[in-house]
Symmetry: C2
């Protein structure tokens, strides 16, 4: 049984070692990008990030994610970031700028997985040029024009693994995985 | 040297075995979703899909992707699909519907990797209920509300691996991976 137990020990260690992740979205255009930025926040939440800082702030995106959390639970939140450089400066951990111009993700994954805390920075169409300098890593998911939602999703999956299933703390709704159709468990006592 | 050569043989075999992938986007809302659907198409292209069928058709998305191809090369295209059920019916290979209500992606990945050709179907907010039945697999990337762009990106990455780098056939532009800033190689003879 030595193999089995050292296997589980390795597994437990690997799980414990998943870095905690926050996301910083800069260059959001309120009024133009609400759906895209909401998708970015949903992807961040679904793939295990703890929060998304949003610059410039946009109460409509914050509200969308609050509605998601009230149904589906968990602690993910959208945090207004009037000053994004302060968020980068004050982050205690590696700062990873996702850009198609950066170094190949595959090469950096082993190092990123060992981090205890990471801040993934995701720009829009135009990115302030100092970001390339103040980030610890400029990382590319492929070298083709891309979607920031896709790049963030793939990077989170590679660094933290596929999302762990099961309802989140405080959830009213929980999905029961199903080969056909939709099965949702509603927690007793939830508002209709 | 036996180990090394059998290693490369295995590698070559694994690479050859990557399934060819098409994407079918249904429930697109022209006028409301152009950016989101363009992001979906860009993610499909960047992560190795060959085409994206679009229902209902939207010439503005087709045109966006043609512009990308004229600069960045490759053969990816957006194909108008007035009848999406015909696309599903005529696809010679597995049909994978991405939905948060489906079975866990991790469980299905080994089987999907062995396929020679896959069609990933991605819905919008509302999905026709017969899709759950006519798909070969209903597959979830996590069990939380999500972005279809993120779900497609993660599924493609898990099934086909991270994108292979290097300029595509006919590209005018090619990125040189860089730790800081942007380096782009412009092919001689390209239009300014």
């Amino acid at each position: 049984m030595a193999t089995a137990s050292s296997g589980s020990a390795r597994k437990a260690k690997r799980r414990a070692a998943r870095p905690r992740v926050s996301v910083l979205r800069i260059g959001h255009r309120p009024g133009r990008d609400p759906r895209l930025t909401t998708h970015l926040a949903l992807a961040a939440r679904a793939l295990g990030a703890e929060r998304m800082y949003l610059h410039p702030p946009d109460p409509s995106v914050e509200e969308s994610l609050r509605r998601v959390a009230s149904k589906w639970g968990g602690r993910f939140e959208v945090v207004p970031a009037a000053n994004w450089r302060a968020v980068v400066r004050e982050h205690a951990g590696g700062v990873v700028h996702l850009t198609m111009y950066g170094l190949e993700l595959a090469r950096l994954v082993p190092r990123l997985r060992r981090a205890s805390s990471l801040l993934f920075v995701v720009g829009g169409a135009k990115v302030p040029s100092d970001l390339y300098r103040i980030a610890d890593y400029n990382v590319a998911v492929g070298d083709q024009p891309h979607s920031e939602v896709a790049a963030l999703a793939v990077a989170l999956e590679r660094v933290r693994g596929l999302p762990v299933r099961g309802g989140r703390a405080g959830a009213q709704l929980q999905i029961v995985p199903s080969a056909r159709g939709k099965k949702v468990r509603v927690r007793p006592g939830s508002p209709p």
